[in-house]
Every structure is written in structure tokens, then in C-alpha cells.
Symmetry: C2
Subunit: 107 residues, 2 copies
DNA sequence: TTAATTCATAGCCAATGGGATATCAATTCC
DNA sequence: GGAATTGATATCCCATTGGCTATGAATTAA
């Protein structure tokens, strides 16, 4: 059983899938049809990707009649932030060049 | 031409590769041999993964005699933090919009 | 100079996974 | 009821990729 980081990184590694998640973050709840219209791939592919995102806890689906409304679940990103800051923490404690990172983030 | 997020997510998606990066973050500079000793895969595989990490800018290699010392490059994680906080930002701004709407309806 | 060490590269193979089309189930409209 | 819409599932195909072994190149030791 893969841990949370494993699932998140693998799930977000695919560009099509990440684009779907980004749209849901930017524009909020959307139906499968609306997502398919701009996804550049077929509807079954979109459904499959949404299934993977759902398994990872990154989205949730709300059934309404014959359509399903998907929305992003921001909380699922927490382990990603944890991991990144943990790596940064290890690094910072070893050396003292965190300034480089902060400069980049400041842009 | 994949963007920074693309490269980072894809690179960190593989567990073996991520474990190598984590070790370099935790324990600092290490030779290929030292990394191979605990990686659970063969030396050529470790070298290949280090090559991918290097391409992504996540590590750098320092040649010293016949051995190569690799170390993590924390700065490369910046786009990852950017992306995550950006997604969180979109979410918050939509939340703010909802709040605004509710306020207006309240009047 | 020869042998041994260290790492990178080259090929090869099997598994994974993202894409497509075809189809099914459920719902809504006529 | 029958047709149309919406999304999920089934199956297949092919490119990618992570693993291996074998080997090469460079450095150090004998």
C-alpha cells in the first residue's frame, strides 16, 4: 500500500490529469461534459482520469440527475506541502542557503 | 517542451527516485556507491535515476577522482511550492467570492 | 603495466499506463 | 414507451519506462 506522497505524486504526474485538477481549482465545480470539452481527450479518458483523481482524494463527484459534478478537494494537497517543506527543512538544517529558495519564491 | 511543474512531478513520481532524493536531502552529499548500497536496485539503475534527477535540476554531481558525489538542490523545489500554493490560492479566492455573494444576499 | 575499483552507457525485456473505440446503465425529453 | 443525452466501464493498442546484465571509460592501487 503506497503512502500519501506516492499516490499524490503519481496522480499529479500526468499532464492531462493535472490540467483537469487545475481547472477544477481555478473554475470550481464542473461536469464531465464541461471538462471534456476543453480537455483535448475523449470523454472516457476524462472519466478515467477523474476516477484516479478521486482515488487520490483530490476531487469528489456529486451526482445530480444523469450528470456528475466534480470539484477539487484542496485538503488532499496537504501531504504534498508537508513533504516539500520537510525536504526543505532537512536541507536548511544541513546548510544555510534557504535564502535562495525564498528569493525564487518571492518572484 | 514540458514546463517546470511537468518535469518535477514526473521526476518525483517514481518511488525509487524520490527515495534517492530524500536521502540526499536528509543526509547530504553521497557517492553513487553509497546510494546504491541502500537503494534496493542495481548501480546502473541508480545512475540512471540520478541522471533524471540531474536533468530536473534536483541534484548536482561533483566529480572527485573516480567517484561522483551527488547532492540535493533545494531551489529546484520552488516551482512545486509555487504550484501548490497557487492551487490553494485559486480555491481561497473562490471561497472569498462565495463569501462576498453571501454578504450581498444578506443585505 | 596490469589489476581493481567506480561510475556511466548501451541494449534488452516486461509491466505500466494513457489513449482510442465500443458499449452499457441511468436519466431526461418527446 | 422510445429516443436522446450523460457518464462509466470494457477491451485493445502502443509508447514509455523502470528494471536487469554486459560493457566501456576513467581513475587508483599493486
Amino acid at each position: 500500500m503506497p503512502d500519501a506522497h506516492e499516490v499524490l505524486f503519481r496522480t499529479l504526474a500526468d499532464p492531462t490529469r493535472r490540467a483537469l485538477f487545475e481547472r477544477l481549482c481555478r473554475e470550481g465545480e464542473k461536469t464531465v461534459g464541461a471538462l471534456t470539452a476543453h480537455a483535448g481527450v475523449s470523454q472516457p479518458v476524462v472519466s478515467k482520469h477523474l476516477g484516479v483523481l478521486k482515488q487520490a482524494g483530490l476531487v469528489r463527484g456529486r451526482h445530480e440527475g444523469r450528470q456528475t459534478h466534480y470539484s477539487a478537494q484542496l485538503g488532499a494537497l496537504a501531504p504534498l506541502l508537508d513533504w516539500t517543506s520537510q525536504m526543505a527543512g532537512f536541507w536548511e538544517s544541513r546548510f544555510d542557503q534557504l535564502e535562495d529558495l525564498l528569493k525564487r519564491m518571492d518572484q
